[in-house]
Structure formats: structure tokens, C-alpha cells
Symmetry: C2
Subunit: 234 residues, 2 copies
Amino acid sequence: MHIFYTPLIIDGKCTLSEEESKHCVRVLRLANGDSVTLIDGSGGYYEAEIEDANPKRCTIAIKKKTENYGQRNYKIHIALAPTKNIDRTEWFVEKAVEMGIDTITPLICQRSERTSVNTDRLEKIILSAMKQSVKAYKPVLNPPTPFKKFVNEPRTGQKLIAHCIESDKVSLKSMVGNDSEYTVLIGPEGDFSPEEVELATQNGYQCVHLGPYRLRTETAGIAACHTINLIKQE
Amino acid sequence: MHIFYTPLIIDGKCTLSEEESKHCVRVLRLANGDSVTLIDGSGGYYEAEIEDANPKRCTIAIKKKTENYGQRNYKIHIALAPTKNIDRTEWFVEKAVEMGIDTITPLICQRSERTSVNTDRLEKIILSAMKQSVKAYKPVLNPPTPFKKFVNEPRTGQKLIAHCIESDKVSLKSMVGNDSEYTVLIGPEGDFSPEEVELATQNGYQCVHLGPYRLRTETAGIAACHTINLIKQE
């Protein structure tokens, strides 16, 4: 079943973007009357039918709507330092969306190897992973945020910082319980600095580890995302 | 601390391969007397010192040996269908080694998009990930194996097949308990065929799911690997 992302649906109809129209009509060769699935990014999942297979402005008519599709009773926010090799961050974003994530923030740290990201490209990856894994809620991608600003922002739920400095740390898995919101900070290749860990702790972040091994940044991000999902799911 | 893979250590000394010697002397610019760490792939972890910084045949003298470094009381074997886009399989191999894996088998299935792999390249990725994540035991990479042959092979421990066909399945996490060996089969992009699932079941494989979402092959592989590691670790 072909899935399209259509954030704007009015009066039971929507029009695909030029890019998606072209993909729908020229590549997938769908035609009037063919069934498709739509996701609107806000929990809406629609069974629909192609009304006008125009390769630039393909219009689609809704047959059935399901609200709150795949809604979960917990939220995951991963704030992760963008990697020097941006492929690795892109892998993380794709895998995190597949597994289930609500918010991603590129975190600019003292030892960050990279201080900017190609937001358009990451958004494309998010949409593609949403469609592939049938997620009706679109994860939010925040702009790159300096560490100090991020930890000072008020935040509800469990606040956790994963780092490799030798110290007393509990496992992330032991911190996943009844809370419905989890924010996990993942540091750059050179880890968070002691000053950053101190600042986070002062702002209510609990230090955690992700197991016995030192993981790459993007692997740590996926381990954190998967840990919370695994424990919170049936 | 720089880490080198040296499977052959005789009388407290070893010689790096030409490639590693060049990397050691020309790139890292290490010299006589510099400290390095060695891993031998069989559980040996060595603190050592450069004896002769020859860029083609760098010799190293062992100062201290730790045996059974990082030995675990459980083993993980993931048999996974190689993906059409081989990058994705390479990504899986790297992440699985980081998280902890003992054996990887490329599994050739009925709906496989790819029936061969570049074994040399995957071995390089394994070694690189071992050094980066300080694993003293080298994971075994089996040759590509047809599904029927694989499931017919006698195997100890928990045998699990993860698939997306609608049926009664328990979660992988519920199957991780006191057993010390786990084999998990991960299917290709089009999933295992019903005949393959039937054959696996006849051979004692339990059907499992990896959560509520349909994951890409390589994502499923990492989810399975991480699930077992997470539950078996403290």
C-alpha cells in the first residue's frame, strides 16, 4: 500500500506536493480510483483514493479517517551532538523515527565536531522514515541548540544525560518507569565535558550509562531511543 | 590510547601488519617506547610498548596481559538477510559489534534482494568497530548461508525468528531469560515467506516480534541485538 504525507486535508480532499504528485503518477504509475494511504503528521491516518492523477497536482479523496493512529502514552526527546560525518547523524534520525521518537534536537556542545546541520535534508529523512514505518505523528526536529541553553530550558518528565566520565551512574533502563516523558542528552565523539555534566546535574539531569561499552554518538542515540521504547511497550 | 588488532602474539612480542604498521608510524606518528593497547580477538587485552617503529613491520612488546577481557556469559547470533543497499548491512554490522555480538550470518532467503556480500569489507568493518569499542573477542562472520541449510543446522539455546506475518507471536524481549545462547533470524525487505516461517517452526524456532512497528531489515537486526544485550546486562 502506497503511503503519502499530506499535512493539509480540507473537506475530505487533499493535493499532493509537486514532488509527491510526480512520484505518484510517473514513478508509481497510480491512476484514478487507485487506493492509497495518507498520513497527516498529527495522528491522522486515512484510507483514500486518487481522484485526479495529475503529475503536478494529484488530488486525492478521503474514504476513511482514523484519528490518533499509533498514539503512544509516552514521549521521547533525544538531544544529540551532530557527528563530524553527517551520514551517522542521518542514520540515527532514520532509525529513531522507525523505532519511535517525538523530538530530536541537534545539541551543540563544547567538544562538538559539527555545529550546523542540513535541516531540509534531515526533514526529508524524517518524512521518508515516517512513511516507510507508517507513523502518523511527525517527529519534531528542533534547530541546533547550544548545550547551555538546552539544559536551562524548563522541561517535564525524566531528564537524563548519558556520558562516559568515570562516576556514579545508573543505567538508563533503570530510569524508565512510570514517567511519560523522557529527555536524553547524547554527547559528541569526545564526550561531554565535566563542566557540561555539572551544569546538567544542577538543572536536574540524572547521569546515566547505556551499558558497559563506549558507543559511538549515533549508536548511543539509538540505544537510548530503543531502550525507552522497549521498556514502555508491551 | 591507540588500539591495534594483533591475533598473533609470540613470546611476548608481535608485529603489526603492513597496513597497521604504516598507520601506526606514518599516520599516528607513534615512536619507540610509546604505549599502545592490543586486542587479539580471542579475549586477550594487552598493554604494550612499541619496540621498533618500522613503517612496514612495526614490532611491539607486551607489558601486561589481561585474559578473557570483556567476556560475557551469553552469546548472540544474528542471521540476517543482506540488504539490497549494502550500506545498510554494513551499518548493521558496525552497530552490532559496538553493542555486542558473537556471530553474524548473512542469510539468503526466498525473497532476498541480495545473495552475496563483500566478506573482506565486512571483516574490515568488524575489526574497525572492535578497536573503536574495545572488544577483545572478534565476532565471527559466517559465509552467506541459504535459509533452509541454516535452520536445519543443530543449534543450542533459544532459536527465534522475527517476522511480520500476522500470527501469534511473543515479543523477543519476553524470550530473553536464563538461556545463555540466542539465535535470531531477521528477514529481507519483503519479509520471510510463510514456507520459511513454517520450516523454521518445524526446526524449533519460536516466532517473535520486535515491537509494534515494521522495521527495516538492518534496524530489526539492531533492535534484536540491543534487546538481548540490554536484558542480559546488569
